[in-house]
């Protein structure tokens, strides 16, 4: 009966054929594009000639190089987690407690967001330009010769710069949500500012810090592009090893086994984050206290120091992007600084196909991903049907797993009959929709939790069926989530590489893959030009989405920048 499957506290709905049909279709799609590939991948690892076996895994587990890559991955992820969380905390604390003028806060926010929406190589390229053998800083400025930029430090720094905004976006609402009256209370009891920070502010922020660390850890663990460019042979990590196993040695089974090893820590982090950290938030958003004046919790000297630190990091990011732009406009950075447009010319000649393909794929993935996110989010948050909770979990899988795993799973699942899709645009679109549509799901669920259920009941009481209610009441109210989901799918379709590098073909390729090719061929100029192009397109789209959102802005809708970061 319906009552038995209803979510606790929510009203059991009468059986609704439309809901049942939609849930059924979504389940079919989820089964095909999330469950099936993962099962096929595990099958490739553990099943050989119809029997269960660990033979495929054993040689890998005894291989010293793979253990080294495993250790390297964990080490890199830990370092990125620590450094990125610290940087994120500094930014979040500054934003929440030192009352910057709004224009300065906006400037910092905008530049901090840059790395999140850029192609994954941008900071890596900028680091090579700056610190490489002929780098602007190492060679031109310091006159050093024969320096190598490749290895752990540069990879770690590049990833920390790229991912610390996640920590910032996670910690900012938490620090802002700590009632400053609590701090004021501690101060009034005679504690010094430092003591208040140590005994009140920091303990309250600890769940947030843990969450930020885990998010960064997972991001670094999954990062494929940065280590591929910067870590090189010095510092092999699992995602790149799996990629080389497949593209270099054509060993699909070995690649699958390596990504299985990667799956273990990724899954552990996912479960830890979901079941432990997310339940330990002290700070609740009540909507109150927004208007209160925060008390003077930071001394002027500390405020200046924090601000200086933020500005240095912000300037470093700005410098990276300026350098990228500059490099795309000169003949050869470090050798010949004559102005030229020839790198951009590449985009419209040999790079034209990649540009066009990417735009076509992103153009298809965007509306589909937006719709998918809103539909799944709505069903999961509002409707009672069989398998509701498992749908929520399954829909998050491809998003939570490292892209390398998803890409290899797709490659294995769709390479052979019965479902042969390798090399088609459809497969790349599906990969983006079911991977990044998850952001739209989360945004929809979050938004719906702020919209009282009685609105939908009111619509039903006035005679509207579930389809009409969704179209006329719910959809307009969750439009922000729709646009957020749409935006994320588009941005990631323009910038992602880790999963889709396994799915490109002669007939369909991507800008990011083109950038990677350029970098490996050491034609950094065109790589920079492509990166600039992607950034420009992404910013235009973000701007358009922002415009659309302000049109549709419903009461209680959350800001899109937070959602984009997630």
């Amino acid at each position: 009966m319906a009552a038995a499957t209803s979510p606790p506290g929510a009203a059991a709905a009468h059986r609704d054929p439309l809901v049942t049909a939609t849930a059924l279709v979504l389940w079919l799609l989820l089964a095909l594009f999330i469950v099936y590939p993962l099962v096929m991948m595990l099958g490739r690892v553990f099943v050989h000639q119809g029997r269960f076996t660990v033979d495929g895994l054993l040689p890998l587990l005894t291989d010293r190089h793979h253990w080294q890559a495993f250790g390297n991955s964990l080490m890199l992820a830990t370092a990125v987690g620590v450094v990125g969380t610290l940087a994120g905390f500094v930014f979040a604390f500054t934003a929440a407690r030192s009352q910057l003028p709004p224009w300065l806060q906006r400037t910092i926010d905008a530049s901090v967001l840059l790395p999140l929406v850029s192609p994954p190589f941008t900071t890596a390229i900028a680091i090579i330009f700056s610190f490489g053998p002929r780098g602007l800083i190492t060679h031109e400025l310091l006159g050093m010769k024969g320096v190598t930029v490749y290895g752990f430090t540069s990879t770690m720094l590049s990833e920390a710069v790229t991912y610390f905004p996640i920590a910032y976006l996670t910690l900012k609402p938490i620090l802002a949500g700590i009632d400053s009256n609590i701090e004021g209370m501690a101060l009034s009891l005679g504690a010094s500012r430092w003591r208040v920070f140590r005994t009140v502010t920091l303990p309250l922020a600890i769940p947030g810090l843990a969450n930020a660390f885990l998010l960064l850890f997972a991001a670094s663990l999954a990062d494929f592009a940065t280590p591929l460019i910067l870590a090189g042979n010095q510092y092999p990590v699992l995602p790149t090893q799996a990629y080389l196993q497949i593209t270099g040695l054509f060993d699909l089974r070995g690649g699958a086994a390596l990504s299985f090893i990667l799956l273990v820590p990724a899954l552990a982090v996912f479960l830890l984050q979901r079941h432990w950290v997310s339940r330990r938030h002290y700070v609740t958003v009540t909507g109150k206290g927004a208007g209160q004046t925060p008390f003077d919790s930071v001394s002027p000297a500390v405020r200046a120091a924090l601000l200086a630190l933020c500005l240095v990091i912000t300037l470093a990011i700005a410098y990276f992007y300026a350098l990228l732009l500059y490099a795309s406009l000169v003949a050869a950075l470090g050798a010949n600084h004559d102005f030229t447009l020839k790198h951009y010319h590449v985009i419209f000649t040999e790079g034209l196909k990649a540009t066009r393909d990417t735009l076509v794929i992103a153009g298809f993935a965007m509306p589909l991903g937006g719709l998918y996110g809103v539909l799944v989010g709505y069903l999961v948050a509002r409707k009672a049907f069989v398998g509701r909770r498992s749908m929520e979990l399954v829909s998050m899988a491809n998003y939570a797993l490292p892209g390398t795993i998803v890409g290899i799973a797709y490659l294995i699942a769709f390479n052979d009959p019965p479902i042969e899709l390798t090399g088609t645009a459809l497969l790349i679109v599906a990969c983006y929709v079911f991977r990044y549509g998850a952001t739209g799901i989360r945004a929809t669920v979050a938004l719906l939790s702020q919209i009282d259920k009685s609105l939908e009941e009111a619509s039903a009481s006035l005679g509207a069926g579930s389809g009409t209610t969704f179209r006329r009441i719910t959809l307009p109210l969750i439009v922000p989530a729709f646009f957020a989901g749409l935006g994320v799918v588009f941005i990631r379709s323009m910038t992602a590489i880790s999963a889709t590098i396994f799915l490109v073909s002669m007939s369909w390729t991507l800008i990011t893959v083109k950038i990677l090719e350029n970098i490996t061929e050491l034609s950094l100029g065109p790589a920079a030009a492509f990166s600039v192009l992607v950034c420009v397109i992404v910013f235009i789209v973000i701007g358009l989405i922002g415009r659309a959102l302000s049109h549709f802005r419903a009461p209680g809708s959350s800001s899109v920048t937070n959602i984009l970061g997630g």
Partner: protein, 367 residues
Amino acid sequence: MTDHRLGVRVEGIAKRYQHRVKGEVWAARDVTLDVAPGEFLTLLGPSGCGKTTTLRMVAGFEVPDAGRVFFGDRDVSTLPANQRDIGFVFQNYALFPHLTIFENVAYGLRVRGKPDAEVRRAVTDVLALVGLSGYEPQFSSQLSGGEQQRVALARAIVIQPGVLLFDEPLSNLDARLRVQMRHEIRSLQRRLGITTIYVTHDQEEAMAVSDRIVVMNQGRIVQTGSAEDLYHRPHDAFVARFIGRINAVEARVTAVDGAGIEVQVLGRTLRLPRPAVPPAPGAAVQLMVRPEALRVGGEGAGAAGWAAKVTACTFLGEKVELHLDCGGQPLLAVRPGGPGAALPEGQSVVLDVGPAAWLLLPPEPTA
């Protein structure tokens, strides 16, 4: 206005749910109602008594675990809310924030596919009826609580529903507005003649609006009747305490015969009519009496009364509340606030109660 008045019949509906601490809890248990066409029936009870769950099952928002719901002769038990022809007014109004007031009210008509001209006319009429002409282009966030309440009401009645359902519609309004709105709801319902079920926890509100009141407690119906029935002839101590205020006094049965019983109360012996199930002689019982039934006389007003002392006196304008101490037993008396009605603290008085005013009630069930 409506020519399709429907009666509502609820037959033995029940709803269980899992409570995190208490385990399985009955939100409603064997609830049976019979609402006459055009009647205004109120479900009254403390929070958690099952009144809202019952209403939501009548509306079709919740599926009962057992029992049936009929609108007229039609069994609507398996119909979803949108096919039941109801109007529902929510506690939080549930106005659509992205639609104008006009579109909010027009929503149900548009769902029914009414032509534009008819929608325009009906919405204009109903907004005039609730006193909100000219508010059409506004959004709900620009309206006060009372105005939002009227829009919610207009939206529910414009579709001329067979049954009108209210879920604590006034609980978010301030006291003065609450009194005003309950009169408006009552007179509107009289004028339209729509069968109405109304949920509230406020006994005064229930008495003000209803033809009949159903008192619920712990998922069950305790008593059904007019406001006067419930006040003067409560079935048990729960109803007596919940409707109005009452004094409870410990007493002991001294004799039972064919015509009546004798009880010892506050040191005096009373003879009361014999209840249906008389307690055994020697049994401890509880007697109840309404505050206004206590007649307060000056010292020496009559030897037949109980001697008491005034411990506190509250002058409330049209009435005076006297807190009394009668041999250690605190009592509340209320009398009209005429000149000289207020008494000084410590004043000795004599109390008199007519035998008919005493209520001998079965004790409240313990969970």
